[in-house]
Amino acid sequence: MSCLPTVAESPAERRPNPFRGRTNVVVALVVGAVWSAWQLDLRLVDLIPSQHGLDVCLEFLSRALTPALSSEAEFVPANAPPFLVTVLEAAVTTVAFAAAAMGVAVVAGLVLGFLASTAWWSCVFPRGSALAHVSFGLARTVIALMRSVHELLWALLLVVAFGASEIAAVLALSIPTAGTLAKIYSELIDESPRDAAFALQAAGGTARHVFCFGLLPRALPDMIAYSFYRFECALRASAVLGFFGYGTLGLHLYQSFVSSNYGEVWTLLYALFAVVIGFDLWSGAIRRRLIG
């Protein structure tokens, strides 16, 4: 039985709180920003690039409209594939890493998300039990730990622990993604309106019925839309993994950058834009249709 707030209780809650309110938060942000600049020893002078930096910048930007269509490297091995094929391969690898990681992440995220939602446990064990409390706490802890280490750090950690392999990269991408998905899934399920669930309960439904037909369908569109957004994040992270030697777009971007082949850099950047922005527009269209 729920405890509704009554009139007698509310005046105590409305007591003015000196730390409440947006002004304090904004002041704290400004103070934080000033402290940050001091801590990082930032000076405005450093924002003026050196002559060398300026040259690099101009040379880089001047190639924006003339991306390379063939390799600009001074020495190209005779058996090397054409540059554009390399770019395409890298783009496909980027997508493949992200897709494989998302496959794992969605499944793991669903399992962990259910375990971390209060609605699920109140449906499975309506009267509460020690097992429920332990599993709930455990799921929340695991999710927090998965989320709090960045993809790239997971990649380093897995490589150090198991040695470099493609699967290590996929797992590195999927672990924090699964954690974040689980957190959002559990919040969406817990926050979705309960009216339909109560109606099914009043019709004699069991806890499982109520969860599956009352709660889950209401949260599902938001869950799908959010998963698509995370896919986009995974694509970006997958591209960056190339900086650590995996064959995604980042690898070639890094190599072309350090050998100052800016035409190649732009070709690769446009490929990256095509992949990420294309997916962004697609997921935006799906979100509009599902949520309206």
Binding site: A196, A202, G204
Partner: protein, 260 residues
């Protein structure tokens, strides 16, 4: 009369923390009777319906539905009891982003196994579809069978909620403010529908209403509630205006406390 459920409340009280929603209600509703609960907001109409619908345990006193004591029955008995009562909630309580047929099919969760319900929900059989279609035909929106529920108007959603309650094959229908969100002409149609269904099947019908005129027009009996107590309980033809005036004359305190 008929096969409708008989409801008995004896000294029924329901408390939410410090708030006493119902205090000492005595009420007997015979099978097949059509009763309207009227009274100002916060009088306890919804609470009384939920207590009669066996989805709220009384704090004290007892509720008997079809001869079964709600406070004493086990989990399984409680489910069976609730499955035999069609509850139409005030805000329709439908899932907006699925098809109408899925919302209606979800009504029979009380008597179907879990896997059976999943099958009905995701891959309904031809017979199920026909049954849902005939129910939607009865409530007047047969062409909306496969429509997405959030594309429907408020009145149409109300009808879907009624169809969902009917799909339970109930012995009684409890409707909470069934005409709160529709305009007067549609309100009449909804009430005609509900009373018609009750008459055809001999179902007991209890509905909470704000509008006393509708109560007079469509129901056999009117129960006036105020501050959790039954103020009057009489047959519609014996109802006089003096009693109604008393019911709605709010004291200043009550006006301020409204909605809390």
């Amino acid at each position: 009369m008929g096969r409708g459920l008989r409801f008995v409340a004896e000294q029924l009280s329901v408390r939410f923390c410090a708030l006493e929603a119902l205090s000492g209600v005595d009420l007997t509703i015979d099978g097949g009777e059509r009763v309207a609960f009227v009274g100002p907001s916060g009088a306890g109409k919804t609470t009384l319906l939920r207590a009669l619908g066996a989805s709220l345990m009384p704090s004290s006193g007892r509720v008997e539905v079809g001869g079964v004591d709600v406070g004493r029955c086990g989990v399984k008995e409680g489910r069976q009891l609730r499955a035999s009562i069609g509850f139409v909630p005030q805000d329709h309580a439908l899932v907006p982003n699925v098809r109408v047929v899925q919302n209606v099919v979800a009504g029979r969760v009380g008597t179907r196994s879990f896997l059976g319900s999943v099958r009905d929900y995701a891959w309904p059989s031809r017979a199920t579809l026909d049954e849902v279609h005939s129910l939607l035909d009865r409530v007047g929106i047969e062409d909306k069978l496969f429509e997405r529920t959030d594309r429907l108007s408020g009145g149409q959603r109300q009808r879907v909620a009624i169809a969902r309650a009917l799909y339970q094959r109930p012995l009684a229908i409890l409707a909470d403010e069934p005409v709160a969100s529709v305009d007067p002409s549609r309100a009449r149609a909804v009430l005609e529908l509900l009373t018609g269904i009750s008459r055809e099947g001999g179902l007991t019908l209890c509905a909470s209403l704000h509008n006393v005129d509708y109560a007079r027009e469509f129901f056999d009996r009117v129960v006036g509630l105020r501050a959790g107590k039954v103020v009057f309980d009489s047959r519609t033809d014996e109802l006089d205006d003096a009693r109604l005036g008393k019911l709605y004359a709010l004291s200043a305190d009550e006006l301020l406390a409204d909605g809390c």
